[in-house]
Amino acid sequence: MANTGRVVRSEWTKIRSVRSTLWTLAAAVVVTVGLGMLICLLVRNTFDDLSARDQVAFDPTMTSFAGMTLGQLAAIAFGILVISNEYSTGMIRASLGAVPQRGVLMAAKVAVATVLVLIVGMIIAVASYFAGQAILGSSLSSSIGDPGVLRAVVGAGLYMTLIAVFAMGVTWILRSPMLAFGILIPFFFMISSILSAVAATRKISYWLPDQAGSMIMSVVEPVNDRPYGPWGGMAVMGAWVVAVLLAGYLVLKRRDA
């Protein structure tokens, strides 16, 4: 389609010209890397107190991504804001007035935001990993050349990206920033981890997007009965993302703007 390029350019202008959305990405970097470093520091100072079993299962790579649990909330906020800004301001009507092909507008908007968050996500992953390993020290740290470590680092960046795209898809459905924040933040911050902590619901929680996707960041084989490996988990998360984007597209196409 000939006009896709200009729609992409416009979406880039929209993203870069609003400070609040860019702040959320900056927050994602600071929170994830900072918290990861802090936790690595705690682990290094208390490692000797751990039980022998925990010491064997210790995963230095995964530990350096510990900041993700909080940092992903900033990525979710970015995903929500970048879409809901159109609706909360009414700009969507001007945008759809200019681009009546709604699918093109949605694709361009999601694509631009995804590329941006992918770049930031990779920066976060690499920075978290190397900063974390440096703090853990040579006795505990892993090396980027170790088996599975590079996959985990790249995977962490992908995880960050997919969680933001998931939020975008949900926001296309819900439209309202309040609604999207109110559902996504508690879900990823609490509900998902509660479900995985309770024995009865643990099996179900394996299929949640964040639980499945975060498998990619572990290098030392975790003691669990998950029916998928790291990339399988990523695929489950990817399926979630595709599903919400599809639902968002149908809502955008069918409903009045």
């Binding site: 729609v7 929209k14 609003v18 009414g90 703007a257």
Partner: protein, 380 residues
Amino acid sequence: MIEAVGLTKSYGSKTAVYNLSFQVRPGRVTGFLGPNGAGKSTTMRMILGLDTPTGGSVTVAGHPYRKLPNAPRTVGALLDAGAKHGGRSARNHLLSLAQLSGIPASRVHEVLEIVGLREVAGRRSAGFSLGMGQRLGIAAAMLGDPQVLLFDEPVNGLDPEGIRWVRDLMKRLASEGRTVFVSSHLMSEMALTADHLIVIGRGQLMADMPVRDFIVQNSTSFARVRTADAAHQGSLAALLTEAGGQVLPEQDGALKVIGLELPRISDLAYGADVRLWELSPHHASLEEAYMRMTQGAVDFRSSDDPRGAGSGEGMGMGAGMGAGSAMGAGTPGPPPGAQPPPGGYAPHAGYPPHAGHAPLQPGGMPQQPPTYAQPQENAR
């Protein structure tokens, strides 16, 4: 050219627009007039393909909007001046829209110049006044140098100088052969700006005619009569009614007589031996004609006004017409464009404080009787 055929939009059981058919032609300003909640904005959103009609269709330049080959170069619209991210500068706002439409960035500076926002182009639009926001919205509509322009309430929040500027701009755009479709709830504004009027009330077409015809048809004349002795007022009123006139009391004790020539009133008074202190010709304002046309279509709740409760006749009129044009059940209302009976002045009788101060010329200050000012959310 915009063409609507049988356009209908329902939200559940509420009908916002019912069976609306009209054409908006190029080369003139077409005013789209109706009280708040009459369905103007809904119609405009359907024209722009934002809302899908429940029934009927609307085309711009022969195509449904969503199938237009180059929509942003063909149609420009100001729907909601608040539709911008406050954190974005005026320039970036327009730039994003220009890029979206494949319009060169240089055009952004041109339209900023046209609407007089060049000096504040770099400022975040959150700090803009209502009028500046309105100008920014107009700039956005003009980005693509389109042949068809839609403006939803463009003068809202503008100062007199700004209103005049918008008026001149609309006329200039129309004189360049463009199709200009402007909505408003102010008859006085449309009388000055528009060449052609499309009036809707409760989502239905009430009138579709040149402004000049509207003025001729609707500025009914009436007489003000005041008797020297207030005691004779009643008997004279009965006499005039018997002679076929419509008599309504005015606030200051005078009578408002419709449907009788002045000499005939004088003769009748003379025959009954009633002395007159005043017998003067008057014209109803356009605003009044417009309200009379749409009052039945405003809202049921208008009859809740306690000050209106005194007039049985007025109440009957308003409520009756309202019920007749109720569209909730999906039954067709009265034929579009049907003129209300001459008794249409009745609501004013029930609202005396204004009756004595009817503006005498078209384009006078708009009155705000309660029948008109009621907010209405159910048609949204």
